[in-house]
Every structure is written in C-alpha cells, then in structure tokens.
C-alpha cells in the first residue's frame, strides 16, 4: 500500500509557491501525494498541481485564509486529518507553515521533525535525515501510530515534473469558525531589498561577532565584491544592530546554498550552520581554534579576520587580474 503524504501548498502572487511545489515533488516520490490549497486563489492553483506530483487536491477557496493567519488553516487541516488520516504531513519551512505546524502538532498530538534534508519509508517506518551541527546526520522517526509532521529545510528538494498527470480535485464543504478569525493582516508592505540577493548568490562572504564592531563589516563587503558575490551576516550581529535582518543567514534568516561560503569571525552556532551547511565549499577564518565553524569548513584559518580579509581581497584581485 503506498503511503499517503499531504502537502499544504502556499500561494505566491496567485500561483503555487515554488517551495511548496518542491515539497510536493518529494511527496510524489515517497508515495501518493495529495495537496491542500486554502485561500481565494485556491481554485486557480489546484488544477496546476497534478503536473508537480499531486494525485488529489483538497480545495477551499475562501478569502478568510488570506486575511486571517494560522487558525483557520489549523482548523480545516485538523478536520481533514481526522477524516482521512494520511501517513504524513510534509511541509516546507516558511514563516506561515511553521506557525501552522506548531499548532497542528499540539491540537492533534502528532509529532514533529524539523529541518529535514531527506526522508524515506523503509516498510512502514519513516526515516528522516536531519543534519546536526557541522558533521552529524541524525536519522529520526515518529515511533507512534498516527500522522506525523516533517518540515523540510529550504532548497532540500528540486522540482519534479509529472507531465500529463491530472489530480482529482475535491472542493471542501466547510464552514469556517468566526472565532478563529483573530490574527488579522492589516496590510502587506514590500520592502525593496536593502541587502544582496543572498538566496541566489554563488559566492557569499559572511561576517560575525569576531569582526569586533559594525564599522569593520566593510572588509566582508569588499571581499564579497572582489569575488563577485554577496555579503551575509550571522544572527549575533543582526541582533547587535550592525545590519538589517535581510542579511541574516540561519534558520530564521535565510538558507543559502552557494558554491563558496567564506565565514569571517563566525563561531558557527548550530542555527547559523543550518542556514549555510549546504554550501559546496566552506572557508572559515576565526581567532578561536575551538570555534565550531571549523568542524564544518573545508579550509580553515585560525587568525584574525580583520588582518586576513584585506590581504585576501588584495590577493583575489591580483590573481583575477592575471
């Protein structure tokens, strides 16, 4: 019996969000993928999902989901879980889905594994791969009966195409509870990005507290510019107010997967590693030989980033000019 995996599809500008489609593709590889779409454009999104792996789509095209966060979706999904009891709820890690997952977990006593980079079923047993720190891989599972939740790390999976697949669409007949319409979005503001497009950069140079003070961050920016890359920051220096949140790399910041990541004055807190561990090559410069970042780096220098960075920028420029 194939496993049934549910995926909640988010809407981005009227279309299915890419992160949701990537998870849907993985679900289709694992078994029978079924999608849930909630919101005023759900009806338009539903027919597009077969091609990305869905065999069935549950639709509730109600504008309330667009205005009121979290609770209406938790109500509807909880109802569906009771009725159908899928084997797994597989969700991308986004702001809204994290909020929904956390409440579903408690309401339906489920079990929740976060930051997964891979998963599979061995017979009836779910095996989820979660990287931990620089060098560990944890294999985790939900040991009990009932639907569990897995949240996947951004960019863990690519898109899968299932040309010609048509999903069966079921329109839900649900009356939303007015009491759940409590968390209200009053407006949405797009802020033109103050920082670099970190998610797409193939080279990232990142700075942390080891730089000493905000005024020293320019060393990071200069090396990034010399390498044709983007500059990023750790949560520590964003918390300290040196840079805006848009520079933050880490689990609640951005997850990046560049070809080259140079970590300068960064100790390597686990939640930072979670955001950049997928980089192909990692170089680290830190004064402290015990800094956890060295266990994740391909090449490490125990030294003062403030001394090494300008020298490296110069050396990079010199070699590129030849």
């Amino acid at each position: 019996m194939p496993k049934t995996i549910w995926v909640l599809i988010e809407n981005e500008n009227g279309k299915a969000a890419r992160s949701s489609l990537e998870v849907l593709g993985k679900a289709a590889q694992l078994g029978r993928a079924e999608a849930i779409v909630l919101g005023s454009v759900a009806g338009e999104i539903a027919p597009t999902l077969g091609e990305y792996g869905a065999e069935k789509v549950y639709v509730h095209a109600d504008a309330a989901y667009d205005t009121f966060l979290t609770l209406p979706a938790v109500d509807t999904i909880s109802e569906l879980l009771k009725q159908h009891q899928p084997d797994l709820l597989l969700l991308a890690t986004t702001y809204d889905l994290r909020d929904i997952a956390a409440r579903l977990n408690v309401r339906n006593n489920m079990g929740l594994i976060t930051d997964a980079t891979d998963l599979s079923f061995e017979g009836d047993e779910l095996r989820v791969t979660v990287p931990w720190g620089g060098e560990n891989l944890v294999t985790a599972t939900h040991p009990q009966q009932g639907t569990g939740i897995v949240l996947t790390r951004p960019k863990a999976f690519g898109l899968e195409r299932y040309e010609g697949r048509n999903a069966e669409v079921e329109t839900l007949n649900i009356t939303l509870n007015a009491d759940s319409q409590k968390i209200k979005i009053l407006d949405r503001v797009e802020v033109p990005s103050e920082g670099p497009a970190l998610e797409d950069a193939s080279v990232i140079v990142s700075g942390g507290r080891g730089l000493g003070k905000a005024e020293n961050f320019h060393f990071v920016e200069e090396l990034a510019a010399a390498l044709g890359g983007a500059a990023g920051a750790t949560r520590a220096i964003v918390d300290a107010g040196w840079l805006p949140y848009s520079y933050q790399i880490g689990q609640t910041g951005k997850t990046v997967k560049p070809t080259l990541y140079i970590a300068c004055g960064i100790s390597g807190a686990i939640q930072h590693l979670a955001g950049m561990k997928g980089s192909k090559y990692i170089v680290a410069i830190n004064k402290d030989e015990h800094a956890p970042i060295f266990s994740a780096a391909d090449f490490g220098v125990i030294g003062d980033a403030l001394a090494v960075l300008p020298q490296l920028t110069q050396e990079v420029k010199r070699r590129k000019a030849h």
Binding site: Y245, H290, G300, I302
Partner: protein
Amino acid sequence: MKIYVCVKQIPDPNTVVSKLDPNTKRLVRSGVSLVLDPGDETTISAAIKLRDTVGNSEVVAVSMGPVSAQEAMRRALAMGVDRAILVTDPALAGSDALGTARVLAATLKKENADLIFCSTESTDGYTGMVPGGLAEFLGLPQLTFAREINVEGSKAVIKRVTQTGYQTVECPLPAVVTIASGSFEAIYPTMKGIMGAKKKPFTQLTLADLGIDASQVGEAGARERVLALGKVEARAAGQVIKDDGNSAQAIADFLQRYQLL
C-alpha cells in the same frame, strides 16, 4: 500588564561545539558552558521595553530546564525582569517541543498573562515549534516574527517579517508573540541589576506542582525518536592552518584549486 517571557539555558553557542551523545542520542548538556540563550536576551529586552512603555506592568521570566538554569534566570532578573519561574524535574530530560509547550502552558495557565513573549526559535534546538504549541495549549492567538510590537487598547499589533518585507498584523489580547532577531537592542545587566537580582522573587516548580504526568513529557512523552547518528561524508579538504601572515595566499590557493577564483 502582565508580560511573560519564555527563556532557555543552552550550551554557549559561541564556544561549544554541540555534540550528540551516541548513547542517549541527545544533545550533550553537561560539562559544557551554559548560558541564557542570546536570542532570549533580545526577547527579554523587547518585553522590558514594552513594560516601560505601557507602564504599571511587570515582566516575568519562565523557563523549563535543569537546575543549572537558575543561573540563566538570575541573568534575566539582572537585566530587569521582575520575577522568575523555573520548572525543573528530572523527568523532563529529553522533552520534545510538544512536551516543552505542555509544561510551559501548565505554568502559564495559573498566571493570567496578557502577553507571552518567546524567541522565534532557540539557538540550540532551533525547531521553533514551542511558541505555537504553547499558544495552542493555552487557546491563544499568536503573533510571530515580530520586529516591532505595540499594544493598542485590548489588541497587540506587530510588524511581522516576511520574505519580501513585512505585514502589519493584529490580534486581541491575551496573545503569544515571537520576536524576530535583530529587532531590539539587548539590555546589558549592570552591577546594580546583578546585585538586585538576588532579592527578586524566584519560584521553582516540579511536574507534581503542575499536575502533569511524567509519561506526557521528557523522553517518555516525546513523539519523535532518533534512530541513528551518523556522520556526513568527509568534506573535500577539512584542513585548518594558523595564520602566519601568509594565510591569504593559502586561501587563494585553495580557491584556485577548486576553480572558485
């Protein structure tokens, strides 16, 4: 207003290479330097700032942890928190997010909070699943990833961080709020604060005090299990050198070797 802040003591992220014990398959928490989660210091600062803006209010730190977490609570008190509650019990070891949320909710149920602040995630476990779980147990709405928070009458209003900017979001009080990193300036404890901390009310509770059965929390109650620990494939070089003034050349050599330059 009664403002609560959920905090956690964790292995120092700046000095400790987080290790997993191959026998218990849990995070190693003993024999390592433990600190109040630096992210929680930002969140505490946000709560204190709101207390002082609203006036006639108190901030209470709440935590679930081993006995050593008393130190983290003292730091919170030294920062300006008015009182602290620590739930500690050997049966809590190995609790997952659901178990932790259950314990915090049971503690807070007795307190009549107007607002409950949490960090978006802890710096060590970073599941980010406790605040929403806590809100669900308490039947409260949640405002998350707040970079700004104001109280307007009986509502809380935040600027909520999104991928492309922010949303203005409101909900009725009482509510749970999670604070996004970098949003608030951290308060540093003064000598006066550190001395004053000793006189502030500090309560320690056990599972029995909360009426929670041990089977629902700790490793016994966890709904996830670690099957195995492995190592990632060794990375390409994994070489570490000391800077002797020539490390820039060495790094550039590495970059050229892998065609990154």
